[in-house]
Amino acid sequence: MDSIGKYVSQKISKTRWRPVSSASLQQPEMFATGSWDNEDNKVSLWTIGDHGVASMEDEFEGDTQLLCEIKHEGDVLDLQFLDADRLVTASSSGAVTIYRHHQNNQTLSVAHRWDRAHHYPCDNAPCTGVVCNSPEVVSVGEDGRIILFRADQTGVLRTIENADSSTIHAVTFLRTAEVLTVNSIGQLKLWDLRQQSNEPAQILALTGDRVPLHCVDRHPNQQHIVATGGQDGMLCIWDVRQGNIPFSLMEDHSAEMWEVHFHPSNPDHLFTCSEDGSLLHWETSSSSDTPSFLQSGRNTSIISRSAIAPAGGNQSIISVWLPGDSGKGHLETTHMLPCQTLSVNSLDVLGQCLVCGTDGEAVYVNRQVPV
């Protein structure tokens, strides 16, 4: 299942699928990209043609076409869809912008912009991450601030000043009013937005070398499981409830990992992309349905590990990502891109479709992701 590359004359920093309603079983058809390192950066919307034709050789039918684009001031450092018609971008000029896509004439326009949301006393500070939980938008930046906006209000709802003394690289919602941030000294910080204090509720970090963390994603069903990717390409899986060290560390990339995503509907699959030009598909699978301690010929250490019930009481669903079950299954990684390219900066996966953007000014779309 090869990915098709299309050269787009701009280095892509972010790609995101436009959300489709979960009720319909449609595959996504439109995605947005943001560019970086250009004199004129752009936010663009693309379609990938119809899926009508489904013959054998025509797996790749449907060329990626540009729908519309709009100029963006500064590099697009993060991009998220707020809903089906609006998207939010984080800019290297420190601004957070909401764009609206007008379906009738296929144009993009600026719905609202918070200029210099992130700033230093006399300079601009890049806004490095933005996450939405409509209508709330949370942004983080190099100035160490966490800012909470509402999409329909012009002002800022709340600012946590000096939330971090180093750069915050990424943010994600853990629960409705809880966010998780990762920073460049290798810490995960949990913030409860309902509380008024400017201190994090919890700090988690590796005990060894503090490697900067660049991306974070939460398991779609089990909210305590979080995956992070760091500067050395290491993928860490954390359990936020217990302990403040990661549960498993897996190293398969040789350079910074820029994005990590759990598959939204099939969370046994994880996707990561990295500066070394590879996009990996991580798949955990159970070798069989019976628990290992009931199987013959297994060695005792595995039995003892899987016999320990996770702290926190009765868990009927034991996640395959936590090592208590590593005796049961195994982890497979496959490269999704046909050959080595320049850095893959971003990826997004929805249903059976995967899109990623590279520094080689190409966008790759794969419509037959095996999940």
Partner: protein
């Protein structure tokens, strides 16, 4: 110095009147900065308003074209793939690979050309359309030259197949014939179309016998009276032997057959079989390779290289590569009128026919304003081991020179500099030096870009550059009071001196405010603490405060003492540490043991012995404060010592 081949072009700088004022300039890596000086040109008294702008003059506009950018990116991909082909395979297996790579390059050029063509047609601005049209014609010429180089140099076909390849080459670049044919066939009575015979003759000129025959068949149907003549022509066309390289037939056998066919054509002409139909007679003369007839159809041939190939097809189909240039020169002279000088394209193609690779490269370098074409072509030829056989004073370094020039040009682009890195990697001589000098000049606006640049440097062990970039980012962070960021950059560069600087900042902050800022950072330093002594001290000092806060006094006391005795704390800070020890000394229960108290006293003595005697000029308050502190400490230490001795001397009952 070499003489200039062409007249230099003059570019006028808007806003600067060069007749009145002198222009100052400065070279950049790919462009020139131009500004107006205050020197007046000779003889001018009054001058017009001065121009306050500094202008950038760029030679190479192409790298800023969005469509041509795709060319650069895709060819970079192919280039990297080419470099990674293993050298230990025998060259016999590698030729098809190289041919495939050459075709890849060409298809990239074609894709770009098509896209430019589409945009040129759809754009409404005439100036822009003209510019696109220009780029399309340049790409057309580039692809033509590349294709010929592929046929002659890379594929290096022997006699027999050589002509077949050349025929393909011509057919590929003369696609107008197919369009005309389509027009003719689409109309109601194709045979009466004005271009009907033109199309047939064009097909024959390109050696496309099948198509010519099918067109003639249409005509034959309408003229039953002339059946025999048409049949005769049809048979001649059908019987023309085509060399088949994979068959068992040798070249000599083919030649014999061909000669027989040629004589048959001649016989048909001599016995006036085609006298009734002048068109058919023309075709027969073409089949015989008659020069005059061929030259009569100049507009159909439209280019001299088409003429060369056609003439060879019908006179010497088994031409050998080394004889090619003789025919090429002769045909070019005959086809073009001698008055106008040869176009650059013509001389390049002629040089190619003469197998003079260096001349081709040299002419292309002059004619084109971008190093892209010559750099990639030379690199491919180098891999085919074709450049080594030529002796030139900068022989095998020609490839490197061109690649370096191309990559340096790319580096001036705000975005394409990342591609240039790979090109520098594959220049053994000076690539690394160029990269070291250029990578430091990439502007670093965001941390993410700095991280990418750092990764490039680290992968190539460019430690100097790593340190320098990290220092720039750390300094910037410090200026904006982002101590945590500054520290993370310092750790990456393993820069102890800067780590000391940052710790000093923290300690200054503490001294002035009484509390620590950025506790989340200091509390979680981890192994990074060991980077610098000052940093270690900072971490340990903070730990002391934490222990004190948790009321673990004995441990806090031990830590405090070790900070001074192990010389981790700077002497300037010792006073503060001793003052911090005061509350511990004043506690009801004894915390410091006898030995520890002795050490504290020793530290105090060390501190005070170095102090200058009281100076009458110094303000009294400071003196008083210092002396008070010392007196307090001495008192507390003495008391503690007393209590400690008593405690340790007491025997438990």
């Amino acid at each position: 110095m070499e003489e200039v081949d062409v007249e230099p072009t003059i570019t006028f700088i808007p806003g600067i009147n060069s007749k009145e004022k002198h222009i100052g300039f400065v070279w950049g890596p790919g462009d020139i900065l131009v500004y107006e000086t205050s020197h007046k040109a000779a003889g001018k008294q009054s001058v017009g308003p001065s121009c306050p702008d500094v202008q950038v003059v760029r030679k190479d506009e192409d790298i800023y074209s969005p469509i041509l950018r795709k060319l650069f990116n895709e060819s970079h991909h192919i280039f990297v793939g080419l470099q990674n082909i293993r050298d230990d395979l025998p060259s016999k297996n590698k030729k098809p690979q190289f041919v495939r790579i050459s075709k890849n390059y060409r298809s990239v050029i074609r894709a770009c050309m098509e896209e430019l063509q589409q945009i040129a047609v759809s754009t409404r601005d005439p100036a822009l359309a003209a510019q696109y049209g220009n780029q399309v014609s340049i790409l057309l010429a580039v692809e033509l030259i590349w294709n010929l180089c592929e046929v002659l140099f890379i594929d290096a076909a022997p006699a027999g197949s050589l002509l077949l390849h050349l025929l393909d080459w011509v057919r590929l670049h003369k696609a107008e014939v197919d369009e005309k044919a389509q027009d003719v066939l689409r109309c109601e009575s194709p045979t009466r179309h004005q271009f009907f015979w033109d199309v047939v003759i064009s097909f024959v000129l390109q050696g496309r016998m099948e198509e010519a025959r099918s067109m003639l068949a249409k005509q034959a149907v309408l003229q039953p009276a002339a059946q025999t003549t048409f049949k005769r022509m049809d048979s001649l066309l059908q019987k023309m032997p085509i060399y088949n390289p994979s068959s068992t037939q040798t070249l000599t056998e083919f030649e014999v057959k061909w000669r027989q066919w040629h004589e048959e054509c001649d016989a048909s002409l001599q016995d006036n079989s085609f006298a009734s139909n002048p068109h058919l007679e023309t075709i027969c003369k073409i089949l015989l390779g008659d020069d005059d007839t061929l030259l009569e159809h100049k507009e159909l041939l439209s280019t001299w290289y088409h003429y060369v190939v056609t003439r060879l097809l019908y006179t010497h189909p088994t031409v050998k590569p080394i004889d090619l240039h003789y025919y090429a020169q002769m045909c070019m002279d005959r086809f073009l009128d001698s008055q106008s000088p040869p176009e650059p394209l013509d001389s390049i193609l002629l040089a190619a026919f003469e197998f003079d690779i260096h001349q081709v490269i040299k002419d292309c370098s002059i004619a084109l304003n971008n190093w892209w074409f010559v750099a990639h072509l030379t690199d491919l030829l180098h891999h085919c081991k074709l450049l080594q056989s030529h002796n030139l004073h900068f022989g095998s370094n020609l490839r490197e020179f061109l690649l370096l020039e191309y990559a340096s040009g790319l580096f001036t682009h705000h975005s394409l500099w990342q591609l240039a890195v790979d090109y520098f990697d594959h220049c053994q001589g000076f690539g690394r030096v160029y990269l070291e000098l250029l990578i430091e000049r990439v502007p670093l606006d965001t941390e993410r870009k700095a991280l990418k640049v750092l990764r490039i440097c680290e992968n190539r062990q460019m430690n100097e550059q790593v340190r320098s970039i990290c220092k720039i980012m750390a300094k910037r962070a410090l200026r904006n009071n982002r101590l945590g960021s500054a520290l993370s950059w310092t750790i990456r560069a393993k820069d102890a001196a800067f780590a000391t600087l940052i710790s000093e900042r923290f300690l200054q902050d503490y001294c002035s405010r009484g509390t620590f800022s950025d506790l989340d950072l200091i509390d979680n330093l981890g192994p990074a603490m060991l980077l610098s002594d000052r940093l270690t001290f900072l971490g340990k000092y903070r730990e002391f405060h934490r222990l004190y806060g948790e009321k673990r006094f004995t441990e806090a006391a031990k830590l405090l003492l070790s900070l001074m005795t192990a010389k981790i704390a700077p002497q300037s800070f010792w006073m503060t540490l001793l003052i911090d020890a005061l509350p511990l000394l004043e506690q009801k229960e004894v915390i410091f043991s006898v030995d520890q108290t002795h050490e504290l006293m020793f530290c105090l003595e060390e501190l005070t012995s170095g102090k200058a005697p009281p100076n009458p000029d110094r303000p009294m308050q400071e003196e008083d404060l210092e002396t008070t502190k010392i007196e307090l400490l001495r008192l507390a230490l003495a008391r503690n010592l007393a209590m400690a001795i008593v405690k340790e001397g007491t025997v438990e009952a």
